[in-house]
């Protein structure tokens, strides 16, 4: 070892040692750095902390770095593990979708309900008719009409050639971004489609562009077109409104729009906008409410009108009917007319008289009666005066009318029957004179060939009086003989059979001298004696009534022969 080496080892031994250690360490580090597994082992525990630290400090920088990776990863994952992704997302997406669908249906239902509830409206009526015509259910039609199914968001009026926007209207909050560009773009797309699809025809036009749930409907006229952006289903209502508006623009502003050079100040934009807005507000609730109010109002007016007309006619009818009833009643109440089948009918403002009368005099009577009651109605007299053959019923009716008037008089009990042209009369009539008059009247009735009358005009139903001596109550032989003659002469028993409505009233009297009680007893006993005797002669108890009068009437009391000691037998006519 030379001196230099010695010195070196003396001076640098410590450094040498350090270098050796460092070399060793370096070698091992180098070795580790080549061994990826070892690197992984070392870094792995740190990665999560590195990420969390870095993300915490500079989140914003990482988002753009990772975003593409995430979408790629998701796409890859969906491709490889479709089912798992579906399962993982199902609880979230499923709920979300069902909530959305439920909400949408709720809206639609609410709207349909409100439409259904307004049943009495012209709209509902027309819907019912349309449903019938189209052969679909009303609900389906309602669903189609439901404005929840469409919403017009934007509406553009565009110059057809240049594609320059003339005007644009949008729903609040749905304003179009860059409407001018949209107008140009739509025009370009329209031109492209037209050029591509219909090279050989100038008449075909692009009508609709669909984009997801949106539709852009294009309604094209010669100089301009209207583009409507609709969310949901386009329908005829919208289509019709757009058409009408476009028609209006073309009629009114055709030359202005044709010469349009991009300067909107030369157009009547206020009017144009107003018309565009009217389309836009087709789906506006306020508008719908307004029209409902309007239609309800017009309905009420219509309803009231109908009510007034119906009321007027009903009142008129009622008035005419009461006149009709009044005249009919007076005819029925008139004994000369009620036997004929006469009819009084009111038609509008005419009183129609129908029926048949046998004599002019009766006809005159009828007209007199009617004229006093018909008011301002015009009279149409269709009464036929005819002597034609009367039917059995008519003859009976006529006879009855006459006979009834006689029977109404006291002392007449006339019975009748009509068969084969013969009228048979029986019963009692007050006297010969009356009997003659009756036969005369009846013989005036047409078609009665013969009248056979067995009417008794001698029966007078006169009161019989039986006299008693002082304090006597028993019938003498003379009394009995008197009664026997009376019974025989008046055919009392037969009369009772014939006339159900007559009875005998036996009233006993006294001379009213002395004790009142005694006198009543005498009167009653005298009446009873006659009652008993008549009963023994076969007069039914039901046809007799015996009473004792306590004080005789003055005219009886004054009689000289027996001073009121008598019994009167009176014919009593029952009113019932």
């Amino acid at each position: 070892m030379d001196e230099y080496a010695k010195l070196k080892s003396l001076l640098l031994s410590e450094e040498q040692q350090r270098i050796e250690t460092l070399e060793k360490d370096l070698a091992s580090v180098l070795e580790e750095s080549r061994d990826s597994q070892k690197i992984v082992e070392k870094i792995s525990p740190l990665i999560s902390s590195i990420f969390s630290q870095t993300l915490k400090n500079s989140q914003k920088e990482f988002i753009p770095i990772f975003s593409p990776l995430i979408s790629l990863a998701i796409r890859e994952q969906v491709r490889n593990e479709k089912d798992e992704i579906v399962d993982a997302l199902y609880p979230v997406m499923g709920n979300m979708i069902s909530k959305f669908v439920a909400e949408s249906f709720k809206d639609i239902l609410a709207e349909i309900n409100s439409k259904v509830q307004s049943t009495f409206s012209m709209e509902a009526l027309s819907r019912k008719i349309r449903a019938k015509i189209q052969g679909i259910s009303e609900a389906e039609l309602l669903l189609k009409d439901s404005s929840k199914l469409y919403k017009i968001q934007n509406i553009f009026l565009i110059h057809k050639e240049s594609g320059i926007l003339i005007s644009e209207r949008s729903l609040k909050g749905k304003e179009a971004i860059e409407p001018d560009m949209v107008a140009s773009m739509l025009t370009a797309i329209k031109s492209f489609a037209n050029d591509w699809i219909s090279q050989n025809s100038d008449y075909l036009e692009l009508n609709e562009i669909e984009f997801g749930n949106y539709k852009i409907s294009l309604e094209v006229a010669g100089c301009c077109y209207i583009a409507t952006v609709i969310q949901g289903e386009s329908n005829k209502k919208v289509h019709h409104a757009v058409n009408k508006t476009l028609e209006y623009f073309v009629q009114k502003y055709s030359s202005d729009i044709s010469n349009f050079q991009g300067d909107t100040s030369l157009l009547n934009l206020d009017d144009i906008n107003q018309h565009l807005e009217s389309i836009l507000f087709l789906n506006n609730d306020q508008e719908i409410a307004d029209t409902q109010v309007k239609s309800t109002l017009s309905l009420w007016i219509l309803f009231s009108l109908v009510l007034i007309i119906v009321g007027y006619f009903s009142f008129n009818m009622y008035q005419k009917n009461s006149i009709e009833k009044l005249i009919q009643t007076s005819i029925y109440q008139n004994p000369q007319l009620n036997i004929y089948n006469l009819q009084a009918e009111v038609h509008w403002n005419t009183l129609l008289l129908k029926g048949r009368l046998p004599a002019n005099s009766l006809h005159k009577k009828l007209l007199e009666l009617v004229n006093t009651q018909k008011g301002d109605l015009e009279l149409e007299d269709n009464i036929v005066i005819s002597q034609t053959i009367l039917t059995q019923e008519e003859i009976l009716l006529l006879s009855k009318t006459i006979i009834d008037t006689y029977n109404y008089m006291d002392g007449n009990q006339i019975l009748y029957s009509f068969n084969h042209g013969t009228l048979k009369l029986s019963g009692i009539i007050r006297n010969k004179e009356l009997h003659k008059k009756l036969i005369q009247q009846l013989s005036k009735i047409n078609n009665i060939d013969k009248i056979i009358s067995s009417l008794d005009d001698t029966f007078t139903l006169r009161t019989l009086e039986i006299y008693f001596k002082v304090a006597e109550v028993v019938l003498t032989e003379q009394n009995k003989l008197q009664l026997d003659i009376w019974l025989d002469d008046n055919r009392v028993k037969e009369n009772f059979k014939l006339y159900k409505n007559i009875n005998l009233l036996i009233i006993g009297y006294s001379d009213a001298r002395g004790n009142l009680l005694h006198n009543v007893t005498y009167a009653t006993q005298r009446a009873d004696a006659i009652y008993t005797y008549l009963k023994s002669k076969g007069i039914a108890q039901d046809n007799m009534q015996a009473i004792g009068a306590p004080i005789p009437p003055s005219d009886i009391r004054k009689r000289k022969e027996n001073n009121g000691r008598l019994v009167q037998i009176k014919w009593l006519k029952n009113d019932n």
């Binding site: 240049s162 926007l165 860059e178 560009m181 140009s184 370009a188 031109s191 492209f192 991009g262 300067d263």
Partner: protein, 169 residues
């Protein structure tokens, strides 16, 4: 506000789209509109202190042998900018055809010719010659400008001038 439709036509790859990109910030989806052969951009320019004009610029896809320009895109245009590539003689020759097409469809619309990619030519005398040649060939052209979408040379100017020509000021 007054709106005017400007169309840019010319051979393919003459730099129409780049010119517009240089001119406007506001653009519509390139991807979509090239499909139908037109790209629409909007720019509001101040012609005078109190006169703002909105330009809707229709960048019509360059004509190739296979695909002709859809005449509907040209219709209703208020001004025409025909773009040619100074480095490709054919595109300059074809100006004639573009001019014929536009004048056939639209009457009385001013036409400006943009000779693009002027930055690629270091020989300015060639540009002058070309401009002179075109001017002598076509009488009804408002202006001819060398332009560069890359450096922005005359880009603003051509749009300004076409608008002024439209408004006749």
């Amino acid at each position: 506000m007054i709106t005017k439709k400007i169309i840019l036509i010319g051979d393919f790859s003459t730099g129409k789209t780049s010119l517009i990109r240089q001119f406007v910030d506001n653009q519509f989806s390139d991807e979509y509109l090239t499909t139908i052969g037109v790209k629409i951009s909007k720019k509001i320019i101040n012609i005078q202190e109190d006169l703002e004009i909105q330009l809707l610029v229709w960048d019509i896809e360059g004509q190739t042998d296979v695909k002709a320009i859809n005449p509907a895109y040209v219709m209703g245009a208020h001004g025409v900018i025909i773009v040619a590539d100074l480095t490709r003689q054919k595109s300059i020759v074809n100006i004639k055809e573009h001019l014929a097409l536009s004048s056939k469809i639209i009457k009385n619309a001013p036409v400006i010719i943009a000779l693009n990619k002027s930055d690629l030519l270091d020989n300015s005398s060639k540009i002058e010659t070309t401009i002179t040649e075109i001017k002598s060939s076509y009488s009804n052209i408002s202006h001819i400008y060398p332009t560069s979408a890359k450096t922005g040379l005359n880009v603003e100017l051509i749009f300004q001038n076409i608008t002024k020509s439209i408004l006749k000021i």
